[in-house]
Symmetry: C2
DNA sequence: CTGCATCCGTAAAGATACTG
DNA sequence: CAGTATCTTTACGGATGCAG
C-alpha cells in the first residue's frame, strides 16, 4: 500500500480549506468505485473489477482499502469455501450523494464549455 | 507541458459519469489555485507562488496552463519591463463556487468522521 | 475467489539553477 | 518578474506469481 498518509496534503490547506476533502474523496479511481457501489449496491470484488473494466486488481484492492480506512466503504468477509468478500457504501459514504449530484449537475451544464475552451486554446496555439 | 490529455480518463466514465469533471477540477494543485484566485481576486504569478507556499514555479506554471486551457482561468500578459502577468478566475471558473461550497459543507460536517474511521481502522490493524 | 508480494517501466512531482 | 531547463526522486500502474 503506497497511499495511506502519503495523500495527506502537507500544507496546501493553508491556501485551500477543501484540499483535505479532495484528497479523500477525489483521489484516483475513488469516484468510479463509489459510484459503482452507490448505483449497484453491495457487490463482490470481481463485480467491481468487471464494472470498472480498466482497473487492475492490485489498484482496486489498494483503493478499496483506502476507502475502507476512511470509513466510506464497508468490507464484509465471508469465511467460506471459496471465500466471498462483499463491498458496500457506508453511511458516511452515502452522505457524499448530494456532493456527487452537484458535481453531475455542473458536468451537465458546463462540461461542454470546457471542451470548447480547449478547442479554442489548441486552435490559437497552432496559429502562433 | 506534460498533462494535457494525459489526465483524461480512458474509460472510467463508463462506470462513473462524473469522472471527467473530477479530472478537470480536482487534479493536483487545482483547488488551492482556484481557491486562491477566488478568494483574493486577480493576482500575479509570484503572489500565487507565495500564497501556495509549497508549490514550485514549474508545477504552478503547468497547472495554470491547464486551467487556462480548460477555460477556468484567464491569463493576461502585459508586455512591460519587467513583464507582468495576471491570473484571474474566468466566468466559467466562477460557476464552480457552489460546488466548492458544497464541498466545504461536507468537510465541516464529516471530515471528523473520516479521521475517527482512520484511527479505528489503524487501531484494529495493530490489534490483529 | 480474493487478494498480497514482487519486479519493472513510465511519467508526474520536486529541487535547483538559469534565462528573456 | 515570469517562467524554462535539467536532473533527481517518487508514485502510479501493469504484469506475473503465489497463498489462503
Amino acid at each position: 500500500m503506497t497511499i495511506p498518509e502519503a495523500c495527506v496534503s502537507p500544507d496546501p490547506e493553508q491556501a485551500c480549506p477543501i484540499s483535505p476533502v479532495v484528497d479523500i474523496v477525489f483521489s484516483r479511481w475513488t469516484t468510479p468505485i463509489l459510484w459503482a457501489l452507490h448505483e449497484f449496491g453491495r457487490q463482490r470484488f470481481v463485480e467491481l473489477e468487471r464494472r470498472i473494466s480498466t482497473i487492475t486488481p492490485k489498484v482496486l484492492t489498494q483503493r478499496l482499502r483506502q476507502l475502507e480506512r476512511d470509513g466510506l466503504v464497508v468490507r464484509t468477509y465471508h469465511p467460506e469455501v471459496p471465500p466471498r468478500v462483499e463491498y458496500e457504501i457506508s453511511e458516511l459514504g452515502r452522505t457524499l450523494a448530494p456532493l456527487f449530484a452537484t458535481l453531475a449537475d455542473w458536468s451537465a451544464t458546463h462540461l461542454r464549455s470546457v471542451d470548447q475552451a480547449r478547442e479554442a486554446y489548441d486552435a490559437a496555439g497552432r496559429a502562433r
